[in-house]
């Protein structure tokens, strides 16, 4: 029988200088060899929980800790982080801040070298960990030359090389593209199943967790809102939504069709349909908006697309070209070729998602559109005018660019100043600026923070502010680079809902760069797929998701529901609600045929 390896009893923690408890009387017990997933929105206390397990909280990050924490027989607070490091390995979300060696091999050796182990023992561990984390062949490569997934695998290998019994992974996939995420999850599976390590996995990617974790804890405001086996936790989708956690497609679909048991995988769903262990007496209702989903069009995409907006305006009409890119080539000064003959036309009123793996050229392409980068060869036209010789400071009035990291684009001392910064540079009259600032503060829900330093806002709030600061310049085209990185599902929806409002109500042309196919399926009307500096696919989300070869070339994974509907009926639907409606429609028509 497995023994208890982590025990938390009535643990509370308050950061120094804060009045709010980051953890509020939580208790948990983890058995040796278990894989425990911790879900929850940002700011719910997940990272604090992770840091308590190896003692960085409160040894390194100060604050007031109450309750009893025992990890592998030790009290981390008394043992100290460095001592706990050989028992508890902690991996963070951003691999760039946790790689210290000049080569993969050196980095993996860093932890054991700090323990003062012999050279022979270190190299034995390095060889083993590199092999276990599927990094063989990359030993001598510089970490900054690795892909995102390989970097994170190196970070995990570096921690694992200290042979801890427990691995705590704090959102290890938050910065990765789908291929990188898949690699990390395969490693986590190996840690659990092949190496017998106890894994605490803090994640937002619910689709992968559901089949990986032995138990799931859902955090909300420093407490556990839900806990149990995946079957227990995911059979409570309403509570999950309330806690700000995205319900996996398979679970949502199972709920909509009245599946007899909670499906955990696409295979479970297909089996449920094929064995008829479901019952749907009436047309399914959208689980978020509570509205009837309605009939599915032949294209099968429209229903439930905007679940957050029960009565959306119709899609804006698509107009004349606003962006034209012809045979665009770009080479960085280092010689690296980033764009290799891109052709792309974007019309007024489009909502476009540009997708592709890291390094495909997405950001390089979009940075050309407001002049931050200049073509090595080729032509770009914005609103019919060539951009050659037009400075960014002029183009930005037409093409707004929101960077991935909000902290790299917030410079002012208050939220209100931040919103007024761009329009003031463009010479907009102060009265108009004041009116815009006031309207935007209310639009993005930050009115009460207008005099606050942006750095004090949460990540989601900072991201909304960064977006609104560009919207304040009233550009025709809005480019948003990875708007949901590091955000939880609710925050991601807030950002995308805001973009959708700008698109529908103000007729803005929206271009987003994203790795999140769930976001693509919910919001985008057109998907541009990039790989190796070229546009390799272009179409509606359905058209793109209907081409598995294209998805493979771009190293992307289509949403689970697209997989299911393609497997069941040979057509791609984008939301569980649309799929449930299709199932209802098909069953009703079969019943009518039978009756007649």
């Amino acid at each position: 029988m497995a023994t208890e390896i982590i025990s938390l009893k009535d643990v509370s923690f308050t950061y120094k200088g804060s009045k709010r408890k980051a953890l509020n009387g939580i208790s948990m017990s983890v058995l040796e060899g278990e894989c425990v997933a911790v879900l929850g929105p940002t700011g719910s206390g997940k990272s604090t929980l992770a840091c308590i397990m190896n003692g960085t909280v409160p040894c390194f990050v100060e604050g007031e800790l109450a309750g009893d924490v025992t990890v592998d027989g030790l009290h981390p607070r008394e043992a100290g982080t460095a001592h706990m490091a050989s028992r508890v390995g902690l991996v963070f979300g951003d691999p760039d801040t946790q790689l210290f060696g000049m080569t993969v091999e050196e980095d993996v050796a860093f932890g054991p070298a700090n323990l003062g182990l012999s050279y022979e023992e270190i190299m034995r561990r390095v060889t083993r960990c590199i092999n276990d984390m599927r990094l063989t062949g990359l030993e001598k490569r510089a970490p900054h030359r690795l892909s995102g997934g390989q970097k994170q695998a190196t970070a995990i290998a570096g921690v694992y090389a200290m042979l801890p019994k427990i691995m705590v992974l704090d959102e290890p996939t938050s910065m990765l593209d789908p291929e990188g995420k898949a690699k990390v999850f395969s490693i986590v599976r190996a840690l659990k199943e092949e190496l017998g390590v106890t894994v605490i996995l803090i994640e937002q990617e619910v689709d992968d967790i559901i089949s990986l974790a032995d138990r799931v804890f859902v955090m909300s405001a420093g407490s556990f809102a839900l806990s149990g086996t995946p079957a227990e936790v995911f059979s409570e989708p309403e509570k999950l939504r309330k806690a700000g956690v995205r319900v996996p497609h398979v679970v949502e679909f199972g709920q909509l069709i009245g599946a007899s048991s909670v499906p955990f995988s696409t295979e479970d769903v297909i089996q449920t349909i094929e064995t008829g262990t479901w019952s749907m007496a009436a047309p399914p209702r959208d689980p978020v908006a509570g509205q009837p989903v309605g009939a599915v069009s032949e294209a099968g995409i429209e229903p439930a697309r905007s679940a957050s907006d029960p009565d959306p305006l119709p899609d804006p009409a698509v107009g004349e070209p606003v962006i034209e890119v012809k045979d665009l080539h770009f080479q960085y000064p280092s010689g690296a070729k980033a764009l290799d003959g891109v052709y792309l036309t974007i019309r007024r009123g489009e909502f476009v998602a540009i997708v592709g793996q890291n390094g495909a050229g997405k950001t390089t392409l979009t940075r050309h559109l407001n002049g931050l980068l200049r073509p090595t060869s080729g032509e770009i036209r914005v609103l019919g005018r060539p951009t050659e010789g037009v400075p960014t400071t002029e183009l930005c009035a037409h093409v707004g660019y929101v960077f991935q990291n909000p902290d790299e684009q917030l410079f002012c001392t208050t939220v209100a100043e931040e919103l007024g910064f761009g329009p003031a540079n463009l010479g907009v009259a102060p009265k108009i600026i004041s009116a815009r600032v006031e309207a935007l503060l209310s639009d993005i829900g930050l009115a009460k923070y207008s005099d606050v330093w942006p750095k004090y806002l949460s990540k989601g709030e900072r991201q909304r502010l960064a977006l609104a600061a560009v919207v304040a310049m009233d550009p025709e085209v809005l480019i948003v680079d990875e708007p949901t990185t590091g955000l939880d599902w609710l925050e991601s929806r807030q950002i995308l809902d805001y973009l959708e409002r700008l698109w529908r109500q103000q007729g803005k042309t929206i271009i987003i760069i994203t790795h999140d196919m769930n976001i693509v399926s919910l919001y985008a009307r057109r998907v541009v797929v990039m790989a190796n500096g070229k546009v390799v696919g272009d179409g509606t989300p359905q058209q793109v998701f209907s081409q598995p070869e294209l998805m493979a070339v771009a190293c992307l994974r289509r949403p689970a529901i697209a997989e299911i509907t393609d497997a069941l009926w040979g057509e791609v639907l984008l939301t569980p609600a649309a799929a449930a409606a299709r199932l209802y429609q098909r069953t009703s028509s079969h019943a009518e045929v039978d009756q007649s």
Partner: protein
């Protein structure tokens, strides 16, 4: 000048870091000792040859080279106008080359003569600066920060943490550079033109980057420190180096050549003024 290590499969890259350090120090010592431009030019050529073997990314040095040419011109003019040389090699060091205020300006007599001796001395000074910068750049491009740590950490009585902190700071420089570029791009995307305006206005615009850059760097440094702590940094007084340095034949050859040539040059300079102006 910010030098970022570039991993390349060259003979120089493969050299023991201690040998590269000795080479660099030797070059600097000889360049300090010599004052004759021809000798210094020969030394400079040897440094360039070493850089060619190391496949030094010359294009990255263009900016600093252009700046240094301006500095060199200023040094030559100032030395030429102000410095009087007791030369053992120049025939007529006091000969006037030209005047800073030329005689052909109507109504003005020629003023501030630039003399051969001082001008040639200015060339020598400029070459010294070029050579030192070049040697440091070649060393930096061909020696990884972790190699430097190992060099520093193997100096007796210096804790390995000191070397590690230095190398991390070194690695941090390009990261901060990227951050700064992104911040400037974000400013441009919101209508800030860094090239427009008076000097104080431009300084004000650029200084707006400092606060977010500082705040972001602190956050990043904090996360790195947390990650290092979680990997037992500082746990043991002993740190095991995984690169056992053993001197190859090439290492010995470069070491002996560097030390031999440097000692010979300095001795000859002191005893028979070989290399003096």
């Amino acid at each position: 000048m910010i030098v970022e290590y570039e991993s390349k499969p060259t003979f120089v890259h493969r050299l023991d870091p201690r040998v590269k350090l000795v080479w660099m120090v030797c070059v600097i010592l000889v360049s300090v000792a010599w004052t004759h431009p021809l000798y210094l030019a020969a030394l400079g050529l040897s440094v360039v040859a070493f850089g060619l073997v190391a496949k030094t990314p010359w294009a990255k040095l263009k900016g600093v080279a252009s700046f240094m040419l301006v500095v060199a011109a200023i040094i030559c003019l100032i030395q030429g106008a102000t410095y009087s040389v007791n030369s053992v090699t120049l025939r007529d060091p006091e000969r006037v080359l030209f005047h800073l205020v030329p005689g052909w300006v109507p109504g003005v007599n020629p003023l501030i003569p630039v003399r051969v001796g001082g001008f040639v001395y200015g060339i020598a000074m400029s070459l010294k600066i070029f050579i030192v910068l070049l040697a440091v750049a070649i060393f930096g491009y061909a020696t990884s920060p972790s190699e430097m740590v190992q060099v520093i950490a193997r100096i007796p009585f210096i804790p390995y943490q000191v070397g590690f902190v230095l190398s991390t700071a070194w690695k941090f420089v390009p990261v901060v550079q990227v951050q700064m570029r992104t911040l400037m791009d974000a400013h441009r995307s919101r209508g800030v033109d860094f090239e427009q305006g008076t000097f104080p206005q431009r300084v004000k615009k650029t200084s707006a980057i400092v606060l977010p850059l500082f705040a972001n760097s602190l956050t990043m440094a904090d996360t790195m420190a947390l990650a290092m702590e979680a990997r037992a940094f500082g746990h043991s007084k002993r740190f095991t180096f995984i690169r056992p340095y053993t001197m190859s034949t090439g290492d010995w050859a470069v070491l002996i050549a560097s030390l031999g040539v440097a000692i010979a040059c300095i001795v000859l300079m002191v005893t028979s003024r070989l290399g003096a102006i």
